[in-house]
Symmetry: C2
Subunit: 312 residues, 2 copies
């Protein structure tokens, strides 16, 4: 009996920064990721795949913007749901296909996922995550007035809408995802971090225009689905300390205490490895094994032969 | 213990023909449908909801078309997957909310669904389902050449792309949908008929640009998920025979043989009630109860107090 593992795929697993966003490019990238994940499933592990959606939801927003004179533009949460459909379809299809190539017929299912965030999350007070297209200052100010958007100047490139990136509180339907994986079904879930929703006074949920970090929601998913491991896939084989210095060191297996110590030393950048380490540490706190590794060696990392492992 | 029922929602349950396609309008329509379906769930039945996507996928295609100078346009099957994300999110959220209002916490989950069709389906030889925007003859012929589209003149309104509407062969993952409903989870599945895929020589699947009739795929879903009932929701309370004639009659409960006799008499129009009766008869053949009824009386129809029932 294998382990239950939640695998978080980065945006590059779907579209490389230098590639054109054609369907063919994205499908081929996803297929390559699926090839590696299928090997993990075929070796007996139960897998939940979660993924980012930055470039895809950005393009859907752009399409909404370009077509708004003929089709009313949809809110960000709905665009995010559309991106779950888009990416989930590619993953469901390619994972199933790659399993078939290995002689396996394990079921694979994509689950539309909402993620609860709090209305009181401090990030709503000072949103900073830029999304969508660039505007002139005049257009931006007009949109801010019309739609209640918050807009900011973006590094001399123009004005953009900014939204909050609140902390995920819970993955709605994680009990269903858990039972599916317990029964051996591969699940694709919480794509793009899940569609952000807030609880209202009467306990019903309502969509909110925000983005959720997929490593943070991946941790929540791994915790709630009671995974044994949480694996964050990146472009690098290991996490480094003293990066770029003479004593730089690739981390292989470290304890929770060592991981926290490195964070306290400021070893990891806020924009990239920092949030991944935070999510990994949060998961290791629950007693599981957190792994940060490269996509193309994820199967080796599952065998303990690659990646940085944090053990609780 | 209640029955297992697959409920197929028509396009009007999401957007009325005279309404603007704003998110607010669509969400409120879906909420109203969810209110009625929640009553059926709360009374103890297991429910799978399936739905059309015509206006929504049309708008996504339009957005792709309008933005193609900045974002590469996605194929039809991918747009259909996006519409599953969009509509599935609204349904998942509103169904859960309406259940909460009834004091219920039953899980609700939207499942991204692919539907297998055959490459040899005769409809691929003579596609006739118009999709997307109107073009001038010149533009249409150019697109036909560039992209291999089949284009046709549409009732004097301009030229449009036409695609096939093949027969669904099977719902991929229906065994997972069945096990979820067996465990009491409400499932939203095979939205827009499911994303059409064809099996290749090596048993892998590939998306294909086509549309699938949601009542036909709803029947397949009901058959494969071993539903007790298949309910097709429309705008009318009953199916009529001799419609518009002095001896017009609303059908309440009829046998499979009577239903087939009425079809043989040509009682139902090919464009509207005909396909619904065909799907209902196909389901009744499997031994289940097929119901064609109005959305706003679906809960009464479950109690046998409304609608046209066909029993095998």
């Amino acid at each position: 009996m294998g382990d239950k593992v939640v695998i978080a795929l980065g945006g590059n697993a779907i579209l490389q920064p230098n590639q054109e966003a054609t369907y063919e490019n994205q499908l081929e990238n996803v297929r390559k990721s699926a090839e590696i994940i299928a090997r993990i499933i075929a070796s007996g592990h139960s897998v939940v795949v979660t993924h980012g959606n930055g470039p895809q939801v950005g393009n859907i927003l752009r399409q909404n913007e370009e077509a708004k004179h003929v089709v009313p533009a949809l809110p960000l949460d709905v665009c995010s749901a559309e991106s779950q459909g888009f990416i989930g379809y590619m993953m469901e299809q390619t994972l199933r296909n790659e399993l078939v190539k290995l002689g396996k017929t394990n079921p694979v299912v994509g689950v539309l996922t909402q993620t609860e965030v709090s209305n009181d999350d401090p990030d709503f007070q000072d949103p900073s995550k830029p999304i969508g297209v660039f505007y002139s200052e005049e257009e931006a100010q007009q949109l801010a007035e019309e739609k209640g958007w918050i807009v900011k100047e973006d590094a001399g490139r123009g004005w953009r809408r900014v939204v909050a990136s609140p902390e995920p509180k819970s993955i709605i339907g994680s009990e269903v995802i858990k039972s599916l994986t317990d029964a051996g079904t591969t699940v694709i879930a919480a794509g793009g971090g899940g569609v952000p929703v807030v609880k209202q006074a009467d306990n019903t949920f309502k969509g909110i225009e925000a983005v959720i970090d997929k490593d943070r929601s991946g941790f929540k998913l791994a915790e709630e689905a009671k995974a044994d491991r949480f694996m964050i896939l990146t472009d690098v084989e290991n996490v480094y300390v003293n990066y770029g210095k003479p004593d730089q060191k690739a981390l292989t297996e470290i304890t929770l205490e060592e991981a926290k110590q490195y964070v306290a030393e400021g070893q990891f950048s806020a924009g990239s490895m920092g949030p991944k380490m935070e999510a990994a540490i949060n998961f290791a706190e629950t007693g599981g094994r957190a792994i940060i590794c490269s996509l193309d060696k994820a199967d080796l990392a599952m065998e303990g032969k690659s990646g940085t492992h944090i053990v609780g």
